[in-house]
Symmetry: C2
Subunit: 334 residues, 2 copies
DNA sequence: CTGTTAGCGCCTTCAA
DNA sequence: TTGAAGGCGCTAACAG
C-alpha cells in the first residue's frame, strides 16, 4: 500500500540505511547515490513515516494544545483564536506538531489529561481557557509533563505560564480615568475563578489607592465577562451609586453591555459616564462611541508560550512566569 | 525511561502477548491474570504507546484540521472557532485525534499539504477557511486523501464538503425584506473568491426575480466581509442610490459597519434603511439597533464535516455535498 | 562511502 | 489460556 523506505532502497539498488542517511541530510553519502535515491523516492512518491521515526527516535516532536471546554466561553473566542494562531505559527516553524486536547474529551473517556498526553507521547502541552477552580488545575500543576499555561499562574518544576501583566493593565487604565478627573470609578470584574480577575482587581485597587481615593467594596461587582453580565452589573452599579462618573470593565464585551445599559438609562458615554474596557476586541472599534480599552497582545502570548515550552523541551530551561506588557488604547468612550 | 509493555509483562510474570491481549479486551485471558496485569500496569503507571500501536496497526486514528492562513481572517474567527469545536467534539467522541495543519506552515517549508499529511499518516483532513483562488484548492481536490471542506464546494472521489445552503439563506433574507415592503434593496457581498459569495449572490438575485423586481448591477457591491468594507460599500451605495430603503449584507460585520455609516449620514435604521446581516455573530445582539441576520449552524457544520469524513474512513461511504439549512433571525434592524 | 544488525513498543498469526 | 516469533518503517552503532 504505502511506499516505504525499503521500496526506495530496492529500486535505487542501495541499502535501507543509505536511503535513511540520504533523507536525513548526512554528509557521508556520495552525491551520486544521494541524487539517485532522491530521484527514485520522488518517482515512487515516497514520504518517510513520522510514526516509525517517532518510535525509534523516542520523540514525537508534537505537543498538545489543551483548550478547556471548547464551547463554554463564547466571549473568549476571539481571544483564544489569536493565541492559538501564535502558538501554532511558532511551533510549526520549529517543526513541532500540535494535537488538540480537551478536558471534555478526557472527562467523557474517564481518562486523565496526563494519560491522554502520555499515550500519544506528547512532549509537552500548552493549556488555555482553564478556570482556577477547574479540577484539572491540580493535575496540570503536579504533572511531570512540561506545560505552559496561558492566563494560568501556576508555577512548578514542569509548569510555567504566560499572561498579560493584568495588575498593571488595570492600574494603567484606572490611572488614566483618574487623570481625566474621575473620582468615583466603578469596577465590573470577571468571575473570581479566572486568574486574570484577581490581578485586575488588584490593579484597580492599587491605582485608586495611589491616587488617594477610597476603594469602596460597593463599587466593585463580579460578573461573567459577557455582554449581558456587563449590562446587569452596570444597572446595579448606577442605580446604587448615582455619583459614579466612570466604570472600568474587565472585558470589552462587558463594557459594550455597559454602554448599552448606560445609553438606555438616558445617559451619555463618555459625557455622563466614561467607559473603559479590557481586551481590545475587533468590535470595540465599531461600537458607538468607539470603546477605549486595555489591549493584550494575544498573538504574542501564544508565541511566548510556545517559546517557553520549547525552551524547556530543547534546552532544559526552567519554566517561569512571563508577563507581557498591556497597552492602553484610548478611543471615544473615555 | 518510559514504561513499556515489556516491563508490565515481566512484573506480572506473563508474556508480552498476554499483556497486549489484556489491554485490548480480548476474552481469551483468564480473569485472574487479567486482573493481575491491570494491577501491575496501574502500579507501574503504564500507558500503551499510540505511536507503536499506530505503526503496527498501520493506522493512526488521527486526522488533520487544516486552517488556511490562521491570521488572515479576523472577522471569521468566531465562525471558525465554533466549527472547530464541533469537529473536535465529534472526532474526540469517536476516538480520533486532531492534528493542526496550516497552509502557512506548508508554504514556508515548501512541502505540499498532502506530503504533510502523508508523513504523519493522517487518515483524512478537514479543510476550512480556504479561498476558492487558493493555490492549495487544486491539491485538495485532486488528492487521494479523504477530505471534507467547510464552505468549499469541491466534490471528487475523495473530497466532500459541508456548507450552509447559502442560496436559500440569502433568498430567504431578501424575501423577508421584500415582504416588509422594500423594493430597492442593495446587496453588499463578500469577495468573489469566497465560495459563499457566489451562492449568496444567486440567492439575492433569485429572490428579487421571484418578486418580479429588477436586479440592478449597480445595487450590488463586492466587499471584504469586514466592518470597514461594509462601511465603505454602504456609503457608495447610498450616495449613488438615494432611493434605496434596505441593504442586505453577506456578513454581520459588514452590516455593523453599514449601520454605523447609515447613522453617520443622519439616517435611521431601520426607519430609513433596513439592514440585514449574515452569520449571526454574538455581537449582533448587542449593537443598536439589534441586528437582524441569517444564521448559520456553525457548531453543527463542524459535526457534520466530522461525520462525513468518518463515514468515508470507517464505512467507505462516498463523499457528498451536505447543505445545512440556514435560519432567519429577525431583531430590530429590519 | 556503504551494508549488516539490532532494536523502538506493540500486535498477530501459529503452536503448545 | 498462554507464549514464541515475526514484523510494522525507520534509525543508529559497528564493521567493512
Amino acid at each position: 500500500m504505502t511506499v516505504t523506505i525499503r521500496d526506495v532502497a530496492r529500486q535505487a539498488g542501495v541499502s535501507i540505511t543509505t536511503v535513511s542517511r540520504a533523507f536525513n541530510g548526512y554528509q557521508d553519502v556520495s552525491e551520486e547515490t544521494k541524487k539517485k535515491i532522491l530521484q527514485v523516492a520522488e518517482s515512487l512518491n515516497y514520504r518517510p513515516s513520522r510514526v516509525a521515526r517517532s518510535l525509534v527516535l523516542q520523540q514525537t516532536q508534537s505537543v498538545g494544545l489543551m483548550i478547556s471546554d471548547f464551547n463554554v466561553n463564547p466571549g473568549g473566542h476571539h481571544f483564544l483564536f489569536d493565541v492559538i494562531a501564535g502558538v501554532h505559527d511558532r511551533l510549526a516553524y520549529l517543526g513541532y506538531d500540535i494535537t488538540l486536547v480537551s478536558t471534555t474529551t478526557a472527562r467523557q473517556r474517564l481518562i486523565s489529561y496526563i494519560d491522554f498526553c502520555t499515550e500519544r507521547r506528547l512532549e509537552g502541552v500548552i493549556v488555555m481557557g482553564m478556570r482556577l477552580d477547574d479540577p484539572y488545575m491540580q493535575e496540570v500543576a503536579e504533572a511531570k509533563l512540561p506545560s505552559v499555561g496561558i492566563d494560568l499562574p501556576i508555577l512548578s518544576r514542569y509548569c510555567g505560564y504566560v499572561m498579560t501583566d493584568n495588575v498593571n493593565g488595570a492600574r494603567q487604565g484606572v490611572r488614566y480615568l483618574i487623570s481625566q478627573g474621575h473620582r468615583s470609578i466603578g469596577f465590573v470584574n470577571g468571575h473570581a475563578q479566572a486568574a486574570v480577575s484577581v490581578d485586575r482587581l488588584r490593579g484597580y485597587q492599587t491605582a485608586m489607592q495611589e491616587a488617594g481615593l477610597e476603594v469602596k467594596e460597593d463599587w466593585i461587582i463580579h460578573s461573567n465577562f459577557l455582554v449581558d453580565g456587563g449590562e446587569t452589573a452596570t444597572r446595579q452599579l448606577l442605580q446604587n451609586h448615582p455619583e459614579m462618573t466612570a466604570i472600568f470593565y474587565a472585558s470589552d464585551l462587558m463594557a459594550i453591555g455597559g454602554m448599552r445599559c448606560i445609553q438606555r438609562m438616558g445617559k451619555k458615554v463618555p459625557g455622563d459616564i466614561a467607559v473603559l474596557g479590557y481586551d481590545n476586541i475587533d468590535l470595540g472599534e465599531w461600537v458607538t462611541p468607539m470603546l477605549s480599552t486595555v489591549a493584550q497582545k494575544r498573538y504574542e502570548m501564544g508565541v511566548a508560550a510556545a517559546d517557553m515550552l520549547m525552551g524547556m523541551l530543547l534546552r532544559q530551561e526552567e519554566p517561569g512566569g512571563r508577563l507581557l506588557p498591556p497597552s492602553l488604547v484610548i478611543r471615544e468612550s473615555s
